[in-house]
Structure formats: C-alpha cells, structure tokens
Subunit: 160 residues, 2 copies
DNA sequence: GGCCGATTGTAATGGCCTATAACAATCACC
DNA sequence: GGTGATTGTTATAGGCCATTACAATCGGCC
C-alpha cells in the first residue's frame, strides 16, 4: 500500500486560549472573530479524525465531492470549493499522486477531465466520513442536540 | 503620510456557493464545515470595512490587542492570537514597518519588547474597530438581534 | 465549413498564515 | 553563581489562495 504524502502539521492543535490578563477589547463582540475561535476549536475534531493521513480540510472536502459526484470537472470542483480553477488542479494533482483519485478523459468534452475516486480512495473517503462526522458530533455535543441543530441553522442562514 | 504595504488580495471575495447540481454529501451535517462557510461569508464584512488598507484578520486582531494592552510582549501577543512566537514577531515587524506600532525596551525585562501603538496606529485602530464592528453587525443583521446573540453564545460555548 | 468568443486545464508567480527547530541573550531561582 | 526557563530572532518549510497568461477545445453563428 502506497504511503500517503507526509502529514505536515496542518494547523494549530490547541484552541485559541483566552489569556489571563489580556484585554480582548471589541473582538468578542464580532461574529467573525467568534466564528474563527469556534472553527479552530472544531478543527480539533477534524484533526483527531484524520490524524496521520495527511488530510487537510480542503482535501477532505474535495475527496468527498469527488466521491459524491463522480466525473466532476476540476473547474466545477473549484467552484464548489470556492477556489480558483488553478488551485483545484493542485488538489486534483494531490489526489492523483496519493492514489486516491484518477483523471479520466471525458467523451463529451475534450478539454475537461473527469475526476473519479480509485477503489482505495473510495474506501478511505467512506471511513473518513464516518470518523469526521463522529468526531464533529462528539466535539459539538456539549451544545446539546437542540442547540447543535439551532447552530447549524443559524450558520446556514449566515452563509446563505 | 507613509503608505501602508500593498493590500494583496487577502481572501476569496465571494461566499462559497452551493453549486447547482453538485451533491455536497455529508458536508452540511458538519459543524466544522458550516462554520467555515459562515466565516467566509462574514469575511465579506471584514473586507468591506478594511478595504484598501492592507489589513488582514490576524493583523487586525493584533492591532486591537496591542491597543488594548499597551506594552504587551510579542510572546504574549502570540499566545493570545493562538500562534507561535515567531509568527507574532512577523506581525510586530509588519506593524512597525507600517508605522502603526513601535517596540519599546522594557525596564523590567531585558529580553522582551513592549509593543505600543503609534498615534497614527491608535487613530487607525479606533476607526477600524468602529467600521469592522458596524459591518459585522450589518452582515449578521439577517439573523435578528436575538438570534445573533444566541449565535454568539453558542459559538463561545463551542470554543470554550 | 469556418471564424470567434467562452471555457478548461495548465503553468508561473506571489503573498499570507502558521508550524518547527535552533540559537543567543536574559531572567529567575536555588 | 550556576542552571533551567523564557524571549526574541532566524531559518526553513508547507499549505492555502489569488492573479495572469497561454494553448487546446467547445459552441454558436454566419
């Protein structure tokens, strides 16, 4: 089994602390900053679920999207991820190098590649989806089920 | 008046779209991913409020913290920002180069610098705080005041 | 059928964010 | 006074993301 590219230390491993004696001024009134803090905290869940796999959040999202949309184009993947085509290519290169996905020529369009998970990629994605979801629930369990749902609704409204 | 370092294009300017026909699979059940989407959306507020100033979220936070904690140490700043000392130094270098803050020797500790806003930095921070807060409120106004407060509470609980 | 604008992938470039490791100067404490 | 911890610094590295420019291809229109 081919080894995945090295993990690298993807992001900070600890939540952003509230340092004793430091005045945070206006920061805590900002939804944007509060989102950032919460996101760093939730990243711990992601990190826990994917440790040692060399997976990062964008890579995970890309793999999930390729899995759920076989044959998806790099351009469309980039659009769905909210990034430029050129960066979606970088992700596709990574997926291919890691042996998790492959590019197949499309009969309907000579310009575009269709991205498909390899069997190994599909297995990995299935396993990761379960683990990431489980850790995400575990970390957010402190809110309680009702508030967790409420939070998701509020975030959706904010992002929409 | 010295010119600030060039803006650079800090981050995506548009929210992450839900692309028609793309299956997002498990992503929307994840609090982590929903946070990411909301954060990108709220970044628009930040971008609007600081356009053309070469300010990024970490830079803004650093400036606010230095303003609210005059004489703060680089190490402490880094800790409060949740980043390594070495990166706090990079921020301090930037602030100094931009003429927004200065390092002063500390009588109580020969190793450490004390960071202080310059008069110009203080003026800029005051103006930015007002604008960032206003835009943040404006963007999150779609939630309504009650739900905005609820969201902040949930995020705090999640991050804590 | 042929031209032209739009789209796709690619390549090159550059900036920011963030982490680690190693080092010298200084501090704190025994 | 010596030893371990802390501070700032420097070097290094990787990921994320945007822009620009280019060739190949597609699509539509004349």
């Amino acid at each position: 089994m081919k080894k995945l590219p090295s993990p690298h230390r993807p992001r900070s491993i600890a939540p952003i602390p509230y340092v004793e004696g430091v005045d945070y001024d206006v920061m805590d009134e900002l939804v944007g900053y509060s989102l950032r803090r919460a996101q760093v905290a939730m990243y711990l869940a992601f990190h826990e679920a994917t440790r040692g796999l060399g997976i990062t959040p964008p890579r995970f999202t890309a793999l999930v999207l390729v899995g759920a949309n076989p044959g998806i184009t790099q351009s469309l993947l980039g659009e769905a991820l909210g990034m430029a085509r050129s960066n979606a290519k970088t992700l596709a290169d990574w997926m291919e190098t890691a042996g998790l996905a492959e590019r197949r020529a499309r009969v309907d369009d000579g310009r575009a590649w269709g991205l498909h998970l390899t069997p190994r990629g599909a297995r990995l994605v299935e396993r990761m989806k379960k683990r990431v979801l489980a850790e995400d629930r575990r970390r957010s369990a402190r809110l309680g089920a009702a508030d967790r749902a409420k939070l998701l609704a509020l975030l959706r409204k904010l992002a929409g």
